[in-house]
């Protein structure tokens, strides 16, 4: 079957040979399909290690939330659900533009690909911009775990009028209030690791835009764009869960 071309040497078959063996097909693969399937498999294995990495953080969150439930509720009331929702929308749109980018690469639309990658790049930066606003709110209120951490908002909720008028939280005992620091540790660790993945992704996007302008991914070899798409969507999924767990599940109390 497909092996038959290996024994044809005549010049009239040279064109069809080139078609079967594009320059990006590595010699240890039988076909471009096999090469694509293999790299897809490898990318998923990498993503599974990422699932385990973030999974550890999610498990820690789950256990501490069960232990120090009132502290986690009070802590999550400090997060701004509007910024969180906006960031979720920004990230979902960036996943969409990335998916469209993969389609442009597959259908060999160079300008479309550059546009999609650039939009993804801008939306990614927008996400980090909003995250910066949220982080600076936490820094102002001394809600960053460490030597300068302040439990004021939890020992005396009325001293934090903006949050108090919305949730009317009861004061926490000092014993429980100090565990809000644990909530913010997990908040900064999880959103921080997510933001680091975004920064790495945006860096690679910049490189890809540069290469895509030269037509790198629109001549048949789309593996890089496709696998980067998988990474970007994975980061989106992590945020979907972070948003639900950190921002939403204690909102009604």
């Amino acid at each position: 079957m497909p092996d038959s071309h290996a024994i044809t040497h005549d010049a009239e078959n040279a064109d069809s040979l080139r078609e079967v063996h594009p320059p990006y097909l590595r010699h240890h693969f039988n076909s471009t399909e096999q090469q694509a399937d293999t790299t897809n498999f490898a990318m998923w294995l990498f993503l599974l290690t990422e699932v385990m990495f973030f999974g550890g953080l999610f498990t820690a969150y789950l256990i501490y939330r069960n232990w120090y439930y009132p502290a986690f509720v009070a802590g999550s009331h400090q997060l701004n659900v509007i910024w969180g929702t906006l960031n979720t929308l920004v990230l979902i749109c960036s996943s969409f533009t990335m998916a469209m980018g993969v389609w442009c690469a597959e259908t060999r639309r160079r300008k479309g690909l550059v546009l999609c990658l650039s939009l993804t790049f801008v939306l990614g930066l927008g996400f980090l911009g909003i995250k910066t606003i949220e982080y600076s709110e936490k820094i102002e209120k001394h809600h960053v775990p460490g030597a300068h951490y302040s439990m004021q908002s939890f020992l005396d909720p009325a001293s934090d009028p903006e949050i108090f008028k919305e949730y009317h939280d009861k004061p926490l005992m000092p014993d429980m209030a100090r565990h809000t620091e644990l909530y913010f540790s997990l908040y900064f660790l999880m959103t921080g690791m997510h933001a680091l993945h975004m920064i790495i992704g945006i860096g690679i996007l910049g490189f890809m835009i540069f290469r895509a302008r030269a037509g790198a991914y629109t001549s048949g070899h789309v593996t890089f764009v496709e696998n980067f798409g998988l990474y970007w969507h994975f980061v989106d999924i992590i945020w979907i869960y972070l948003f639900a767990l950190l921002y939403l599940i204690s909102r009604h109390q």
Partner: protein
């Protein structure tokens, strides 16, 4: 040999992507709305159910798993299953080890 070529590269078109985009946007609106309702123990259940639905849509369509090889499908499923096993075992340990003394 023929087995490797049975999955010709499937190109997912913009129509599917737009549909998924709207499903994800609606899911986001729904989960924010549901979070302000007083549903007791069902609040986290609903939030996680919506988040999981969104994640499944992203995995199947944006990440093309619906159209990919059996190897990829099995890999994704095995990874998520393993993750759930690890979480269950960890929680079983934490729940049973210090029973009643927290």
């Amino acid at each position: 040999m023929s087995g490797q070529n049975e999955h010709a590269h499937h190109i997912v078109g913009p129509g599917v992507y737009v549909a998924i985009l709207f499903a994800l946007l609606i899911g986001t609106g729904l989960t924010v709305w549901a979070s302000f309702l007083e549903l007791g123990p069902w609040n986290p259940v609903i939030a996680l159910a919506i988040a999981t639905t969104k994640a499944v849509l992203v995995v199947l369509f944006f990440m093309h798993v619906k159209y990919s090889t059996k190897l990829t499908k099995l890999t994704v499923f095995a990874g998520i299953f393993m993750f759930l096993v690890l979480i269950s075992m960890t929680l079983a340990d934490y729940i049973s080890r210090a029973w009643g003394s927290w």
